[in-house]
Structures are given as C-alpha cells and as structure tokens.
C-alpha cells in the first residue's frame, strides 16, 4: 500500500525535555491508524508537528512523498491534511452554519474574496447543508457555537475538519470529555468517515481503538514503542506492561 503520511526521525524538544524523540511513522493510504500511549507520551505533540502548529527540532514530515516540514499550517490544510483538536478550538461567536461555510469557502479558494457575499454559491450552500446534516448539527446551525452543548461542539470539531475535505484526517481524542450517552453519536460519525480518507486517531479508550483501527502505533516517552496490527499490539507483552496493562486494569 502507498504511504500517504510519513515522518522520518521526528524530534521535538521543549527546553531539555524531548517530547518527541525520533519518531518514524508510516501511515498508509486509506488506513484507520490509531496512535496510543500513556499520558504525556507525546501524541498531541506529534499531531501538532504533523499539522505545522509546532516546528520540529529535527526530522522530516512527508505528505504523499513531498517534504512539508517547513510548510505553514494553512498550506498543509490546502494539501489535504486536516485535524481536530483534543480541546475544542472553535469560533465561539460564529454559528455552525458560518463555521462550516467558512471552511468550505476557504477550500474553494473564495476566502480572500471581499466583494462577493457569503453564501451566494449554490454548490457551497448545498455542501454546508449536507455536512451539517451528516454531523447532526442541522437543528442548531443558527445558534452561536459558544452556546451549544459540549457534545454538539465536539461534532462541529469533526465537521469543520471534514469540510476541509481532507485526504488525511488527524483526530485528536474526538470523544474526549463527552458524556457516555452522547459518545455513540460521535463514534458513529467517526466510523462513517469516507473510506478513502486516511485517518490517524489518538484515543485513550481501548474499546474505541480496537473497534476502529486496522493499525496501531504505541508511543511511550516520545518514542515509537510498538507498531503493528491490532492483534499483534494486543498480544505484545511489553505493551501490556507499559500501557494496556494500566489501562485495562483501571
């Protein structure tokens, strides 16, 4: 299978601390790849490096074979790399309608247009409505995002990333903090993501990881510990002792 996203000896130091220490990761096209590891293992830092929020101290990042290590965050999005955030990063004063419309207009290259009014392109409006419907946001699309219940905000997090029409989607704990009875809605939308979209998922919940992923990488202390199919990872005694043991026993 073709590798879509690859890191080569990726490193990130904060002062004297190596948050990410030489990670070489390969994510294949169409994969459902999970990145797991104990708290503080550097998972979110990896995502921040992949998306350009942080610059690596060393190493390279390749998207579809091209080196994007030095590329600005917004340019990576235009190349098909989108993400969600572990802690909601939304536009609280905008409505879900405006939020999704914003992402679509940027993707269509209309974001710098200053003379046209928002929403005058029928194709765009159709897509906004489709995405809001798919993510169960149609009934709240006119409300201020900041006033939405947390579960809806989590859905908007994913909807916003999908509106960028990514080829590679990085999901940083999509169900984090969502009450049990609302989780299924989010997990169902994650499971229903288009098959051609490559997904890298960070998640703590092992039930979600093992039901979703076809490949799992375990990160411990900033380094790749184990990388393989779910069965291998589940069987690996080292993983059990370092990570799964803690998580499953708890």
């Amino acid at each position: 299978m073709a590798v879509v996203l690859e890191t080569v000896d990726l490193e990130k130091h904060f002062g004297g601390i190596a948050a990410v220490a030489g990670v070489s990761l390969k994510i294949e096209k169409g994969a459902r790849h999970a990145l797991i590891g104990p708290n503080g293992a550097g998972k979110t830092t990896v995502i921040n490096l992949l998306t350009g929020v942080l610059q690596p101290s060393a190493g390279r990042i390749l998207l579809e074979g091209e080196d994007i290590t030095a590329l600005d965050a917004h340019k990576r999005v235009r190349r098909g790399l989108a993400r969600t955030f572990q802690i909601n990063q939304l536009f609280l004063d905008l409505t879900p309608l405006e939020t999704v419309g914003l992402a679509i207009s940027e993707r269509m290259g209309a974001g710098a247009q200053w003379w046209r009014l928002v929403g005058t392109s029928p194709a765009m409006v159709e897509e906004i409505v489709e995405i809001l419907g798919r993510f169960h946001l149609a009934d709240v699309m006119y409300e201020r995002t900041g006033n939405l219940p947390y579960g809806k905000q989590r859905l908007l997090e994913i909807a916003l990333a999908i509106a960028c029409r990514p080829r590679v989607l990085l999901l940083d704990e999509p169900a984090a903090g969502v009450p049990e009875d609302e989780r299924h809605e989010i997990l169902a939308t994650v499971a229903a993501l288009p098959a051609d979209v490559t997904v890298l998922l960070i998640e703590h919940d092992m039930d979600i990881v093992f039901s979703f992923a076809d490949r799992i990488s375990v990160l411990v202390n900033g380094a790749l510990f184990v990388d393989g199919a779910p069965e291998e990872v589940a069987r690996d005694p080292r993983v059990k002792s370092v990570y799964l043991g803690e998580a499953l026993d708890a």
């Binding site: 929020v53 914003l102 710098a112 029928p122 409505v129």
Partner: protein, 343 residues
C-alpha cells in the same frame, strides 16, 4: 426535502447582508441633517471625518481583533499628504488627492502591518503607539516640507470635482465628508459580509483554528490592516482639506486614544459603532465645552472614565450586528428596557 433546506439556508445567508430599517433611518437622518441643520455643518463635518476614522479602527479592532493606540499614524500621514498635494499643486482635484493620500497611508499600513502580526494586545498597543510617535517626530524634523511645529500653512484647496468650492460655513465640506463616509461605509459593509470578512471574524475568534481550516492568518491581517490604514488616511485627508491645514497634532496620542473612546462609546464589530460613537463623542465634547468653558476637560475626563467602567464589557461583544444596534437604540429612550442592563 434537502433542496428546501438548502434554499432556506441560502435565504438566511442572504438575509445577513440585507439592509435593516434602522440602517435606512440612520442614513436618512444623516441626509436630512444637510438640510435641517445648516448652522451646525462645521461640527457635523468634524463628526463625519471622525466617524470615518473610527470606522477604520473598527475594521481592525472589531473584525480582526487588532487593538491599536497609534491609528493616528495613518490619519496624520493622509492629512499631510493631502495638504502637500494641494499646496504644491501635485494633485489639485480634492477627490483624487483624497484617494492618493489614502494610498500613501495604505503603503505605511502595509509596511507596518508586519509589526502587529505577532504578539499580544499589549505588544500591539506599544508597537502602534511607537509607529505614531515616530511619524510625528519625522514630521517635526523636516520643517522644510511639513512646516514643523508651526504646521503646514498656505494650503489652498481647489474646488471639489472642479465645481464645488469649499466655504467657511462648512456647507460644502459637510456634504463632501458625508458622501465620502457613505461610499467608504458601503465598501466596508460589503467587505464584512464577504467570505473575506467572515474569515476575519474567524481569525479574531481563534487564529489557531483559522489556520487549521486553511486560512492564511497573516495574509488576512495584513490585508485588513492595510485597508484600515487607507480609510484612516482618507479621514485625515478630509480633515486637511476641510481646514486647509495640517499640523503635528494629527499624529498625537490623544487622537488615537480619543478614537478608542469613540469605539467604546459606540461599540465594535457592527460598523455603526464608530459612526454612532463619533456623533455622541463630538456632541458631548461640544456640549460640555459650552457648559463649562474653563473646566470642560475635567468633565470630559470624568465622563470617559464612567463610560469605560460601564461599557468595557461591551467592547468586542457586539457581534450581533444589527440586533445589537437595535437593542442599543431601543434601550436609550425606553425606561422599560432598564432591567436588560442586569443581563
């Protein structure tokens, strides 16, 4: 069913930019003031260019979240540029000179926009303040060109469009300033309802996420800062043209600070804040100065302190557009609206 939903959403989006009754009322009142208040045209002229200046600051503060304590840098440059164009006969026709002066300010805005890209609000306050101070000192140090501390004397403004000569009662200058304000307001209004305007609000709300949906945050901030500098330059040029004079005080800190007060009075992020704020600010200044010619600055200072204490929560929270305007106008005369204050 989906098509009905699509139509409804398209309608709602289109309705965002539609003119409301209060907006018509506002501009009709402005038009009526030309005919009904001929004796007040001098102060109305000042209100008009101040409103344009405040509109300029609202574009960066209310829509892009860039706070500035040095917006007078662009105002002042526009002012001197327009005065010099007229004095040396470089561009005689005032409207053309106005545009040219605005462009000069826009160039300065573009050049200094890179300084405000990074940093917190405090950094931006200091950087913008510094730019205005530098501009003032430059003007002070080249008296051969600017007249230095004496100001630029001997400016003669040609008839507007070759036809309308400015008069000492301010009749022509008020119509001129109001027309310029209206046209530039229309452009600003169009811009804030465009995809570009929406992306500015996104950048203001959450720059990290804005970049994560593919918005080039810096490019948008540079663009709006340059645009706002153009507006401020035009406002300054209006002052220079209607008074046939330019002096160092166009760059003063007080001018930038007053401008923030205008927006605090009027509110930010719905375009009318600067306009309404300018009206209230100037009328109040005029009224208090008449009441107590000796101590007017004391009273104005007191009023400002009170306004900021009462109104500071309002700054930036006025994103509801016309709804906010409606609330504001409805609240003032109606005692029944008082409980709303407790919200």
């Amino acid at each position: 069913m989906p098509s009905a939903a699509v139509e409804e959403v398209a309608r709602t989006l289109a309705a965002r930019a539609r003119w409301g009754a209060l907006e018509y009322a506002f501009w009709l009142a402005a038009l009526a003031s030309i005919f009904l208040l001929p004796g007040r045209h001098l102060i109305l002229t000042e209100i008009a260019w101040l409103a344009l200046f405040a509109l300029s600051l609202d574009l960066i503060l209310g829509y892009a979240g860039i706070i500035s304590l040095g917006h007078a840098a662009f105002f002042g440059l526009g002012s001197y540029a327009a005065a010099l164009f007229a004095k040396h006969g470089i561009i005689e026709e005032p409207v053309l000179a106005l545009l040219a002066a605005g462009l000069c300010a826009a160039v300065l805005g573009f050049a200094t926009s890179f300084l405000v890209l990074r940093g917190s609000d405090l950094t931006r306050l200091m950087v913008t303040l510094g730019v205005a101070l530098i501009m003032r000192e430059i003007a002070n140090q080249i008296p051969d060109l600017t007249g230095g501390a004496d100001g630029l004397q001997g400016v003669i403004i040609a008839p507007i469009l070759g036809t309308f000569q400015l008069d000492i009662f301010g009749h022509v200058s008020y119509v001129y300033c109001l027309a310029v304000l209206f046209v530039l307001f229309l452009v600003a209004r169009r811009i804030v309802y465009s995809p570009f305007g929406l992306s500015l609000r996104a950048v203001k709300g959450n720059p990290l996420r804005a970049a994560s949906v593919g918005i080039s945050v810096n490019a948008r901030l540079i663009a709006v800062y340059t645009l706002a500098a153009f507006y401020a330059g035009v406002a300054g040029a209006l002052l220079a043209q209607t008074t046939a004079f330019a002096s160092l005080d166009v760059f003063s800190l007080e001018r930038s600070a007053d401008l923030l007060l205008v927006l605090i009075i009027g509110g930010t992020g719905y375009l009318y804040g600067g306009l309404i704020g300018a009206v209230i600010f100037k009328l109040m200044q005029d009224w208090i100065a008449h009441l107590t010619p000796q101590y007017w600055q004391f009273w104005i200072g007191l009023v400002f302190v009170l306004i900021v204490l009462v109104g500071r929560e309002r700054i930036g929270s006025w994103t509801g557009g016309l709804r906010a305007l409606a609330e504001r106008i409805a609240r003032r005369p109606a005692p029944a609206a008082m409980p709303e204050k407790g919200r």
